[in-house]
């Protein structure tokens, strides 16, 4: 091949290149970036090469770079002349024969086909592949690519990085040609300035201004440097850019060299990027061969060459002065600025350093003009930015988006949100120099200024999504550990400051931190940020400072409560299941006791952890299932059903008496202190049990006739038989807890009387006031809230409500109401404004309701209730909704449309939530939140009134049984601490010897489930639907536990 000396040769080469990119035969291109290779792309390529060679096929085979969709690798592009190019995903070597066979028939293998590309804007050229395959979506229609604007990644995954001809074919080096022939250097610099292009390495300094400094510097030698020392954990855009399109980088640098008067360029690339090094080496050779690098470039009197230098992998060498020191052969330590590199850089000569991605933007700006560029992105941040979207989202990969795009777009639309059943908590941007942005702020536009205001930075474009399994304290600790080990050690704040910050954070994650250290860490972080010598130290505290700002409660949990909600910090949790349980039941303990056949001990252990084990064994939302590590093998251990089995085996048999005596015998000596518990719901019962066990005199005041609260009055018999609950309450009574029924506090007894009569008062009044929706027609006969409806059924006064019931809502109360209606012989329909997967009700309950014939109407909001002449309900009109933007909960907000549907019915049950009885709360004189819940100290459960504590739904708003009981347990501990002045709680549930050896084998059985009555039988009566595990199944289920609680 000859050198390009004039436009004639150049054009001829372009034609020749086009014949490679769009050949007269089918073309198969395998994505062979590092991520593709990691997923088996080399095997695919070899299998294709082998088959094509073996069969002598007329197919052009190419190795291209990466198209960005990491979670779908390996990607293979298939093109038949005249047809769209089709992207196949997750291709394995074993698929090759099928692909070729299909191709020989002009078909695309349907199960592998992902999307098609009909035409492609390379920015520097426009390619039309063809039109066809109507069954396939266009690439831009896929959520992952929606809104993406590929400028930097314009060629990635489409052309062969090894072949300069293909780069020239898609318009490569035209911008350079234009600059060399037509343009004055100053006018190009003006163009770059006008484009508002800012450095993509992180700091965001205006590129044009930086170039101007270098252009104006007078020296015999000037350098331009490409910083490809990409070292942020989770960031790999520069690697992919160089691997997939090395000439794009070279073209930008050569233009930069020409207009700034530099004669030498240097690419400083990480040694750990071998493929990028290889592709770049080859590209440099080819460019020299073609006369694009070296003397008399493109036949003009311009001499410029580029060297590649491999860095040894020090993160700090991404800092420009450290990078220069490293290039000079010194150890990579930054130098003070001023003097800036533009004055005294490499070897003391004027030098300009830009990030890889900055260079890729140059050719498009030169060809299309600055106005085109500034139209993309936001006012202050023009153009696009490539992000590596990784972490807890379903679609991961490289994403190029216009600057100013809100984070929601990245996380939910492109990333597809968190995995099922989880919620995204935060996004970390900018790697170790960046910060964490909480989900409440996801409407934040991603640009330099806004991220900076939130304490984060754009950085090189790392974007790590985190869900509730990520501990923010541990995240902060992780990033400080990283910068700590990458600190060069030159300046004191970074060297010693980060070391101390790491020590403090390590203490937090081990549960030895103090509040004073939290204050000190904040001051230390600000000192390191404000006084460090270089960017590494100045930004290293960002992850700590932002997590402390946005996730202070997690720090408090670690330091004050010694808890890690995410279960990441091992020292702060027994096991993932225990950590997820609001009651912190020692689950591995009762599983092992049952495994050893010690049912009595197991019962005692369970009851001491959870005084309503049979009830919760039936109705708990079982958060433990989501955390159980057994699910990585097959399915989580059915912990809830096992403790139900253990409880049933005792409560409902003749073992009850001896075991009740055993538990009563554990009661501590009387303390002489008395406690009043207001409310006999799950929260009150739990607190009463523990307080009695600790030796206090406990009286429970309840305005209803029986104990149990929602368990007794709202949860239907078929889910929780009343006799089971009654037996649990009986055991609590055996500990000496006194109950006063029909004793409404505020009416029968006043708070002042309680204050005088007791050493402490615990308010667990629950949320018994039903929320009301503002809906025309709620005054009609046949409209009623869920709670009174369920309560009337629970107390045996079945109301006559006609034949058809519509239930509005998506929670457990809605499902309970509908299923109860079915048992009353009614037809029931649940109307919910979101989708099924968004329903807060327990999934198994929703399934059971469907089996029993309950109908569901999703994406439907109530519009009005229509009545007949006598004031009875006749129908419910609903407005169809569509899903709009994502809200703070990570669910899409339903937006009401104009489409109205009429649903004939005789009764409407409103199950839209419950709130605290505001009249009581206001009359109490205690400080309240806006919603009417009591304000309490999160760690001590104290209200604004001395000796008054509160817990359960009354402080959290309507929640569920286990959360409520968790509050009750914690309140008992805190009340005891306050009354006795010492911590006595930890010892009360101990005293069991059980195996702490890791099990040699675990049961290989799949998860055992409870047998259930058939839907035909169960709708006929009130019989309990879930029968419970058999003895053999329960024992085997216990053997499925992996014993995460055993460590070391």
């Amino acid at each position: 091949m000859s050198r390009i000396e004039d436009i004639g040769i150049f054009n001829a080469m372009r034609e020749a290149g086009l014949a490679k990119v769009l050949p007269a035969m089918p073309r198969i291109a395998v994505g062979m970036g590092t991520c593709g290779r990691g997923n088996g792309a080399e095997g695919v390529y070899q299998a294709l090469a082998h088959a094509i060679d073996r069969d002598g096929l007329d197919i052009q085979l190419a190795a291209v770079g990466c198209f960005g969709a990491c979670s779908e690798e390996p990607l293979v592009n298939v093109w038949l002349p005249g047809q769209p190019m089709v992207i196949l995903r997750r291709v394995q070597a074993s698929d090759v024969e099928r692909i070729l066979t299909d191709l020989s028939r002009g078909r695309i293998t349907p199960d592998l086909a992902w999307c098609k590309i009909e035409e492609w804007d390379h920015i520097t050229a426009h390619l039309r592949y063809g039109v066809g395959f109507p069954e396939l979506p266009l690439w831009s229609e896929l959520p992952f690519f929606s809104g993406q604007k590929k400028i930097v990644l314009r060629n990635c995954g489409l052309i062969a990085p090894d072949d300069i001809d293909e780069y020239i074919a898609v318009g490569g080096y035209q911008a350079l040609y234009k600059v060399l022939i037509d343009s004055k250097p100053e006018s190009v610099i003006e163009q770059i300035k006008a484009s508002k292009l800012r450095g993509r390495g992180g700091a965001g300094y205006a590129t044009g201004i930086k170039w101007e400094f270098l252009a104006k510097a007078k020296d015999d030698r000037k350098y331009i440097i490409c910083n490809a020392d990409e070292g942020d954990p989770g960031a790999y855009m520069n690697r992919n850019e160089i691997e997939s399109d090395p000439h794009g980088l070279l073209e930008g640098m050569i233009i930069g060299g020409y207009v700034t008067g530099a004669s030498q360029g240097i690419v400083y690339v990480r040694h750990e990027y071998p493929l990028a090094v290889h592709k770049l080496t080859r590209a440099l050779e080819q460019a020299r061969e073609y006369g694009i690098l070296g003397a008399n470039i493109l036949g003009r009197p311009f001499h410029f060459d580029i060297d590649m230098v491999e860095g040894a992998g020090a993160f700090v060498c991404g800092e420009e002065t450290a990078l220069i020191a490293s290039l000079e052969g010194f150890s990579g330590r930054p130098r003070p600025r001023p003097p800036y590199p533009a004055q005294k850089g490499l070897a003391g000569k004027p030098t300009n350093i830009n990030n890889v991605e900055t260079w890729y933007n140059i050719a498009p700006i030169v060809l299309k003009g600055p106005a085109w560029f500034t139209e993309i992105g936001s006012t202050k941040s023009a153009g696009t930015k490539v992000f590596s979207l990784v972490g807890k989202v379903q679609n991961t990969g490289l994403v190029e988006m216009p600057l100013g795009t809100p984070l929601t777009k990245f996380v939910y639309d492109i990333g597809g949100g968190a995995a099922q059943g989880r919620t995204v908590k935060a996004v970390q941007t900018g790697g170790p120099s960046g910060g964490c942005i909480p989900h409440e702020m996801f409407d934040t536009p991603v640009d330099y200024e806004t991220l900076g205001q939130l304490g984060s930075i754009m950085g090189s474009g790392g974007m790590v999504v985190m869900d509730e399994d990520n501990c923010m304290v541990d995240i902060a600790r992780y990033f400080i550990e990283f910068t700590h080990s990458e600190s060069c050690g030159k300046c004191v704040p970074c060297r010693v400051g980060l070391d101390q910050a790491l020590e403090i954070l390590n203490g937090f994650t081990k549960g030895t931190g103090t509040v004073a250290q939290l204050t000190l860490l904040n001051e230390l972080g600000r000192m390191i940020r404000d006084t460090s010598l270089c960017g590494l130290g100045q930004t290293a505290p960002n992850p700590v400072l932002t997590t402390m700002r946005h996730f202070r409660h997690e720090f408090d949990d670690h330091i004050i409560a010694r808890r890690c909600r995410a279960g990441v910090c091992h020292s702060l949790a027994l096991s993932p299941c225990e950590n997820s349980c609001p009651l912190h039941m020692n689950i591995p303990r009762f599983l092992d006791l049952l495994k050893e056949g010690r049912v009595d001990d197991a019962f005692e252990a369970v009851f001491l952890d959870n005084p309503l084990p049979a009830s919760t064994g039936r109705v708990c939302q079982h958060p433990c299932d989501d955390r159980c590590r057994r699910q990585t093998v097959d399915a989580p251990v059915n912990m809830r059903e096992v403790h139900r089995f253990i409880a049933d085996a005792v409560l409902l048999t003749d073992r009850f008496e001896p075991l009740a005596a055993r538990i009563a015998a554990r009661k501590k000596a009387p303390t002489g202190k008395s406690v009043a518990v207001v409310g006999a719901g799950p929260t009150g019962l739990t607190a009463a049990f523990y307080l009695a066990l600790l030796g206090h005199e406990v009286t429970v005041f309840e305005n209803k006739a029986e104990a149990g609260g929602m368990l007794r009055y709202a949860i239907p018999e078929y889910r929780l038989p009343k006799r089971v609950l009654a037996q649990e309450v009986e055991l609590i009574r055996r500990l000496g807890v006194k109950f006063q029924f029909g004793a409404g506090v505020g009416s029968a007894v006043t708070l002042n009387e309680l204050d005088e009569g007791f050493d402490a008062v615990f308010l667990a009044i629950g949320t018994w006031k039903e929320s009301w929706v503002y809906l025309p027609g709620t005054e009609l006969k046949g409209v009623l809230p869920a709670l009174p409806f369920l309560e009337s059924v629970a107390t045996g006064t079945n109301p006559a409500l006609g034949r058809r019931m519509t239930v509005i809502g998506g929670g457990n109360a809605a499902v309970d109401s509908a299923r109860t209606a079915v048992r009353m012989g009614m037809e029931a329909t649940i109307v919910y404004r979101r989708e099924r997967k968004d329903m807060p009700a327990i999934k198994e309950e929703v399934d059971a309701a469907e089996q029993e014939g309950v109908k569901f109407l999703f994406l439907a909001a109530p519009h009005r209730i229509v009545g007949d002449a006598r004031g009875n309900v006749k129908a419910l009109e609903i407005a169809k909704t569509r899903l709009g933007q994502y809200d703070a909960s990570g669910r899409r907000k339903p937006v009401v449309t104009a489409e109205i549907v009429r649903l004939d019915c005789d009764a409407v049950v409103l199950a839209v939530g419950e709130t605290v009885d505001l009249d009581f709360a206001r009359a109490s004189g205690l400080t309240l939140h806006e919603a009417g819940t009591f304000v309490v100290d999160r760690f001590t459960m104290e209200t604004s009134r001395p000796n008054f504590f509160a817990g359960g739904d009354a402080i959290s708003g309507a929640s569920n049984v286990s959360n409520a009981m968790g509050f009750g347990k914690k309140a008992a501990r805190k009340i005891d601490e306050r009354l006795m002045g010492v911590k006595r709680f930890a010892g009360i549930s101990g005293g069991f010897e059980y195996s702490m050896e890791p099990p040699e084998t675990t049961s290989t059985s799949p998860r055992h489930r409870s047998a259930e009555l058939t839907s035909a039988v169960r709708v006929k009566g009130e019989d309990e639907v879930m029968v419970g595990l058999t003895e053999a199944d329960a024992a085997d289920e216990a053997c499925r536990c992996l014993r995460c609680d055993i460590r070391g």
Binding site: A314, V316, S331, R333, R335, P336, P338, H484, S485, E486, S487, C488, G489, K490, C491, V492, P493, R495, V496, G497, L498, D499, Q500, E503, L520, E523, L524, M527, D530, T531, S532, L533
Partner: protein
């Protein structure tokens, strides 16, 4: 070329100085006390200890030792924030290694110790590290005690820039950085060492000392070394 005269404001006071001077020099010439450790008159500045931070009008902190003055510049050399940061930096230096003043040859003549006193350090809020560090007694006349080293690099610079021997350099990184002679040889075996002792005199603490002195007896002759450096014109 004669340097241009310019005027700047230090803590609100108008001060005349020469272009090319650093803020530190200008401030000290004007009689302001700006603490420093890694700075030594006559040596090139590296901006490592960050004690000489001063505030620009926009609140940004810059090291006085490496920031040149400009016409119209205004700086504040002390504020509650700056004082707190400086105190914290000294605290960090005290916990980093094993500084036991009461058994140190430099007790009473130590720049770190006197800075701690003048910055009001009366206790340290961080956890002491107590690292295990070697003591190099191999040199005939001098000792190097890493326990007392604050990594200011004055020894490295004085040896390279004034004596021209470049015996010393820094190895490792981050908290594991350490001053080494030649390629981490015992001092006594470092052939390039001329025995001049400039490093010892430049050392602000007791990390480098002459042999034969007991506690409190080692008084450094830093000023003489600085004088030698000026005669060589190193920092210009």
């Amino acid at each position: 070329m004669p340097q241009k005269k310019i005027s700047i404001r230090i803590d609100g006071v108008l001060v005349a100085t020469l272009e090319g001077t650093t803020i530190l020099e200008a401030a000290r010439d004007a009689g302001r006390r700006v603490p420093s450790l890694c700075h030594m008159d006559g040596l090139k500045d590296v901006g490592a200890c960050r004690l000489c931070i001063v505030a620009l009008p926009n609140g940004r902190l810059v090291p006085a030792c490496t920031t040149p003055v400009q016409e119209g510049l205004a700086v504040i050399t002390n504020s509650p924030e700056i004082a707190a940061y400086r105190r914290m930096i000294v605290e960090l230096l005290l916990v980093e290694r094993n500084h036991v003043c009461s058994v140190c040859v430099s007790n009473g003549h130590c720049e770190l110790q006197s800075l701690a006193s003048s910055l009001g350090v009366n206790s340290v809020r961080f956890r002491y590290h107590y690292p295990i560090l070697p003591l190099d007694l191999s040199q005939e006349r001098f000792v190097l005690d890493h326990n007392r080293c604050i990594l200011c690099s004055r020894c490295i610079r004085v040896c390279a820039e004034v004596e021209g021997a470049h015996v010393w350099d820094m190895m490792g990184r981050g908290i594991h950085s350490r001053v080494i002679g030649e390629l981490d040889k015992p001092w006594g075996e470092a052939a390039s060492c001329t025995n001049c002792g400039k490093c010892v005199q430049a050392c602000p603490t007791g990390a480098m000392a002459e042999k034969g002195w007991a506690v409190e007896e080692m008084v450094k002759r830093t000023a003489q070394v600085a004088g030698a450096a000026f005669r060589k014109g190193v920092s210009l």
